[in-house]
Amino acid sequence: MRLRKVLIANRGEIALRIVRACADEDVRSVVATSEVDWDSLPARLADERVCIGPAAAAKSYLSVGSVMSAAIATGCDAIHPGYGFLSERPELPEACDRLGLRFVGPSAEAIRRGGDKVIAREIARAAGVPVGGDAQALEDSSAAATRAQELGYPLLIKAAAGGGGRGMVLVRDPDELRSSFDRASGEAQAAFGDGRVYLERYLDDARHVEVQILADAHGGVVALGDRDCSCQRRYQKVVEEAPAASVGDETHARLAESARSLARALDYVGAGTVEFLVDRSTQDIVFLEMNTRVQVEHPVTEAVTGVDIVREQLRIAAGERLSIGQEAVSIDGHAIECRLNAEDPARGFAPDPGTVQEWILPQGDGIRVDTHIQVGSRIPPHYDSLLAKLIVHGPDRASAIERTERALQHLRVGGIITNAELLRSIVRHPDFRADRINTRWLEQELT
């Protein structure tokens, strides 16, 4: 059944991206905004806008009641959560089910199981996906010590309810494990209301590689190739690429098959991403976590596959079949995304809200910029610092890097401080150009 009208429960560039995908799918769009975002570009370009609360996200973008009410009051038949905010909260699809709306994303059950690290690992393990350590929560410190001996150090103690780098402790020997275990569990309880922790192999020279999945309600599960997101700072991705150029054909295939297996095991429907670590020397792969929503970096996959991921999300939510089968997926060239943030690398990446005075974007063949910013846009202090995504596509990695460097050179932003110079340093760096970086490289080399 076709969607008629979609409430977009998000802001910024992704809200604009969804507004346009709705127009492309001939579906009406309503953007739910906080008070400070009322005049934002996505709100102005949507067919309708509705203010759902004050600037504080807890009372607007994070309020299930406000989002649901806005969808009902404006006669929407579906909600698209974007990324962040409510996108991985099972309460939203649950409320949608209860009130007869469709949720553009997986079921509450899939979000719950995919989002719980321990359950997701157990499902992954059962589906034959390497999890690098345990798939069960540990009883106590002594159980942990026994298990650690079997797995071998170094290890990470991770919170079952954690994610994105939060709730993990590195231990290199039994002493560190002993002294850290109870604290780690206590902190997990305090931070997430869930004290369960587990052990994971720690790879200190690994790449972050993830697989984009699309799955429809008719059993179609397609892996749209992989992305390398090793260039990150404090678990925040900064530069992403597709495909992951440093892994071999066999690893590409293993990653894709693992991701599809996991999606099938979760009865997954929607767009999702399965994250892995790949050991740089052994090419061993280890399952990290599953993100049950559209990813910030989805455009690099769009560039190399030609598939419009957000439109596919809308089609899947409408009960349609995927527009592409696994055998039709092919990777064309190489794409790189740089995240332009309002933050000051010179002051420890302190965010820098303010008003954009100058905003000149690069133009040219193979260059795409996804942004909600215009001259005069005010960057509110309430939300994240992403200003724009620069996505560059080229016939191969070397030319994509060269184009990215040029495009960054042509970017001009005034009125706020950005990380543009850091991005330029990254793409110019010999390690990045030679593709010999790992997940800790950016912090060690450039920040």
Binding site: S34, E35, V36, W38, D39, E48, R49, V50, C51, I52, G53, P54, A55, A56, A57, A58, K59, L62, S63, V64, G65, S66, M68, S69, A70, I72, A73, T74, G75, A95, L99, A342, E343, A350, P351, P353, G354, P380, P381, H382, Y383, D384, S385
Partner: protein
């Protein structure tokens, strides 16, 4: 567009069956406020995580229906008005959101009358998901709290008044 009466009915029904405590929507030409009590709603509570107190729902729909656009501005910033309390100000290190407690369910760091030391944390200023703890920087007693929880603050804006000891 105005709100379809069928949608409004459905919304009230959904609200009555929910644990949502307060709903306030404004469109181009409508305004809807539903609340579990007849009182004005409290201000925003604390960073992240929606609190969900259950209460007997009392729907009070109030669609405005006229063509007035909603206010595009956020909560007003409290001016650093002169207060009766004498003492030293503690100012905000940056623009951001003022939070008196570390989480929605925690008690505030300090209240008026509390004794603090140089190391005491007084509040959090949140800017783009970065939480900065603001310390007292002096020993003394909190004599005034100048900003309401959850409000926007400017860089250099006085947040607390402390009477040094």
């Amino acid at each position: 567009m105005t709100v379809d009466i069928a949608y409004l009915r459905k919304l009230i029904e959904a609200f009555e069956q929910s644990d949502w405590d307060e709903i306030h929507l404004r469109g181009e030409d409508f305004e809807i406020r539903l609340s579990t009590s007849a009182d004005e709603p409290a201000a925003a509570s604390a960073p992240a995580g929606a609190a969900a107190p259950a209460a007997t729902p009392v729907a009070t729909p109030a669609p405005a229906g006229n063509g007035s656009a909603p206010a595009a501005q956020a909560a007003p910033v409290n001016a650093p008005a002169a207060t009766g309390a004498a003492g030293e100000p503690v100012v905000s290190p940056s623009v951001g959101i003022f939070w008196r407690a570390p989480s929605p369910t925690s008690p505030p760091f300090v209240d008026v009358g509390d004794e603090v030391t140089e190391e005491s944390t007084l509040c959090i200023v949140e800017v783009m998901k970065l939480m900065t703890q603001v310390g007292a920087g002096m020993s003394g007693r909190v004599v005034d709290i100048l900003v309401a929880n959850g409000e926007s603050v400017e860089k250099g804006q006085p947040l607390f008044t402390i009477q040094p000891t």
